[in-house]
């Protein structure tokens, strides 16, 4: 970064700080310029990047996400709301690990991407992206991981679970998340302060952060393709899947389908629909042959995560109100007791204090003189 670039950025920061309180700064022209630069950097990286590691690096350092704003804008304009939230049912027994869903997600959300062929190849490649368990990143809203059940690989798609009672929504101190009636949990980048408490709260470790954006970083995560489902289309990852792993529809229907599949094939599936009750229920549901704990899913009970904080907040409010009464009484008591004297120490000995300071100064001057 040369000096001019440095100055430009420094000025942008100063400007951002000034206009920060006056509205949504993410829509400012400077911001768009920076985003343009980021795209340029992204394109350069695209050429240079080593295949798999390259895209992980790109995704980790991705900035200037536009999916958030697009989806939030869509949400604000939405007038029709479905009676029942939608859900996606993932049948893990069918997934072949082609990673086409990852490609489609990147493509639709304008995240860093590589040719589709490279995604499809990684299953048989050595070394491969599957060698490590990955998580969602700033520029990657969904990842497919490979686990082994005995000798057979099990591929698991990971993305935002779109909880019925989202931990992220509840954790946010500026109310930047919204649970829509479509089932999707959306994030509003124009309110976010960047505290990253939602990332602490999420039991599935989904929200990622644009750490490499110094001025307008955002949280990024799967939006359940809100901008598609409101137009009657299905999410990009569901649409591209050729192995029939995912089904999209009203949640109750998906649950019925899940149980039907389990009942019809009890030897193929374990009797557990992950997401039916976990953390109060989610809008992504999973069925599998292997127990979910072996596939990297957190073991959660039926308690929605927000309940933990709600109980505490209630206790604090009660205690603060209850404690206020005796404390106020104590204050009155102290005041009436001290009426004759002065209330605080400062008023009791002001003159002494003043002389103390003067003495100090004189002492110091004397010291100085003696030197």
């Amino acid at each position: 970064m040369d000096r001019r670039e440095f100055l430009k950025r420094a000025l942008t920061i100063a400007g951002m700080t000034l206009i920060g309180l006056c509205g949504d700064s993410s829509a400012s022209p400077q911001n768009d310029k920076i985003k343009g630069q980021n795209y340029k950097i992204r394109d350069q990286n695209y050429e240079e990047a080593v295949q798999n590691e390259g895209i992980v690096q790109d995704s980790k350092k991705a900035t200037g996400n536009i999916a958030n704003r697009r989806n939030w804008g869509k949400y604000e304009k939405t007038k029709e709301f479905p009676k029942e939230p939608y859900a996606v049912l993932v049948d893990l027994t069918k997934c072949i690990g082609c990673r086409r869903c990852e490609w489609a997600c990147n493509e639709w959300n304008k995240n860093p991407n590589r040719p589709l062929k490279e995604f499809e190849e990684s299953k048989d490649k050595k070394p491969s992206v599957f060698d490590r368990i990955r998580r969602t990143l700033a520029g990657e809203f969904t990842v497919v991981n490979r686990f082994y059940n005995g000798g057979t690989p099990v591929y698991v798609k990971k993305q935002c679970m779109h909880c019925a009672e989202p931990a992220c929504l509840n954790a946010c101190f500026v109310d930047a998340f919204k649970k829509t009636s479509y089932g999707a949990v959306l994030y509003n980048p124009s309110l976010c302060v960047g505290c990253r408490y939602c990332m602490i709260a999420c039991p599935f470790d989904i929200p990622a952060y644009e750490y490499y954006d110094p001025i307008t970083p955002q949280i990024t995560k799967c939006t359940m393709c809100f901008d598609r489902i409101t137009e009657g289309r299905i999410p990009a990852c569901v649409e591209i899947c050729s192995a029939d792993v995912m089904r999209f529809g009203p949640r109750s229907e998906m649950l019925r389908l899940a149980h039907e599949k389990i009942n019809n094939n009890p030897e193929r599936y374990i009797n557990h629909v992950y997401g039916e009750h976990e953390a109060g229920g989610t809008n992504w549901l999973y069925i599998s042959t292997v127990s979910f704990e072996k596939l990297g899913f957190p073991k959660l009970d039926k308690t929605p995560i927000p309940t933990y904080s709600k109980n505490f907040l209630f206790t604090v409010k009660v205690l603060e109100i209850v404690a206020a009464a005796p404390l106020v009484w104590a204050a009155y008591y102290m005041i009436s007791k001290n009426k004759g004297e002065k209330v605080l120490d400062s008023s009791a000995t002001p003159k002494n204090d003043k002389t103390k300071i003067q003495n100090n100064r004189i002492r110091e001057q004397n010291e100085k003189d003696s030197k």
């Binding site: 998580r135 954790a171 101190f173 960047g194 470790d205 933990y308 102290m334």
Partner: protein, 392 residues
């Protein structure tokens, strides 16, 4: 000319500018200056290049050293105002009046600089006002903390105002704030108690991510109680240091009286430490976590509890019996250090405890230097104010 002499009188303590600078060209100030230079570099680097290049924060570890040390540990150690302010102004512990003003000043500086450090951790620091004025996430524990911080800084300012206006020679304002002082203290108790526990409450939402030995439904209570003993041990530490450094400022200093009061604080410490220990034991038994003790995390947990809570409590009992104020002072350092370790344990070490050691978070030098810079600033401001206003 008039203004100039005011400046000379109040800011430079009656010295000329040249003298003032030359008097401060000492080794401690040189070190402070060096630390500040590094930390200012880190601050500017963070602002220009972002959190990614400046820190080791990641999607797995969204909170790092700045939250663990500057906020969680820092705020616990800034509890002197809560503990002593209450004891003196509300419960009439007049003996400890001399300790109260420094305690309030250290709380004030502690909170202001905790928020200052937080500004570098927030991705969009320029929106910090949103949480107060613009958009309220009423169900968030962090929202409660943000508001309580905001209110508590105001409360500390009111409590500190008499000393400030005394310094400026505005007697009417001083008297006005003196009268407000007791009300500020009352609300200060409520507010400080609320957010000290809420800092522990922050981690209630991560039941699956924090090691069972540290995760507990009582996390808020543990944070509150440990903040109380952290606060009292900080009072002892502070008075020890300031009585050594500012000895010449204290006209009527009686070592014996000072020792007696230190021992008195030790008695309070012992009680609180044991309450904490009993609750910790109860928590361990209630959740039946005994089997975790036989692991590396278990040994570390035992070190925290035995080494930094039980052992200091025992030593303090001994010190009170033998009337050994010096031992109390040394133990206070151990207790405060233990609280820092506890906050690191909950927020970093026990957080994501199941991931391999190689993927764990450790801070970059910039994160460390920024934190050290903030401590240096607190000390410098403390010194600046103590030398000018009637604090000690």
């Amino acid at each position: 000319m008039e203004r100039n002499s005011w400046f000379k009188e109040k800011i430079l303590l009656g010295m000329t500018f040249k003298d003032y600078i030359s008097r401060h060209a000492t080794l401690p100030f040189l070190i402070a200056f060096l630390i500040l230079a590094f930390s200012f570099y880190s601050m500017i680097y963070r602002l220009i290049y972002g959190l990614g290049p400046a820190t080791n924060l990641s999607d797995t570890y969204p909170w790092g050293l700045w939250i663990s040390f500057d906020i969680l540990a820092g705020i616990a150690l800034a509890a002197p105002g809560l503990t002593l302010g209450t004891a003196v102004y509300l419960f009439g512990a007049k003996d400890y009046k001399k300790f109260a003003r420094p305690a309030i000043l250290s709380s004030l500086l502690g909170y202001i600089f905790a928020v200052f450090a937080l500004m570098f951790d927030l991705g969009r620091y320029y929106r910090i006002g949103y949480v107060i004025f613009w958009s309220w996430g009423l169900n968030s524990i962090l929202f409660l903390i943000a508001w309580h911080f905001f209110l508590y800084i105001i409360i500390c300012l009111i409590e500190w105002a008499p000393a400030f206006f005394e310094w400026l020679g505005k007697d009417k304002l001083r008297d006005f704030f003196s009268k407000l002082g007791i009300w500020a203290t009352v609300f200060g108790v409520i507010i400080a108690g609320g957010h000290q526990s809420a800092l522990g409450g922050l981690f209630l939402v991560a039941p699956t991510k924090i090691h069972p030995l540290w995760y507990s439904d009582m996390l808020p209570l543990f944070f509150l109680i440990s903040a109380l003993f952290a606060g009292i041990s900080m009072v002892i530490i502070e008075s020890t240091i300031s009585h050594r450094v500012f000895r010449e400022h204290l006209k009527d200093f009686e070592p014996k009286e000072f020792d007696r009061k230190t021992i008195g604080l030790a008695k309070a410490l012992i009680i609180i430490l044991f309450v904490y220990l009993i609750l910790k034991l109860f928590d361990l038994a209630h959740n039946d976590n005994w089997h975790y003790l036989k692991s590396n995390y278990g040994y570390w947990y035992l070190l925290e509890i035995v080494g930094f809570v039980l052992a200091p409590a025992m030593i303090l009992i001994n010190a009170v019996k033998t009337n050994n104020a010096k031992l109390v002072r040394i133990t206070a350092f151990v207790i405060a250090f233990g609280v820092i370790i506890n906050r690191f344990n909950v927020s970093l070490i026990a957080y994501n405890w199941y991931i391999p050691l190689a993927e764990k978070y450790y801070p970059t030098w910039m994160e460390v230097s920024l934190s050290f810079g903030v401590i240096t600033l607190i000390i410098l401001f403390y010194r600046f104010i103590v030398r000018r206003m009637a604090i000690l």
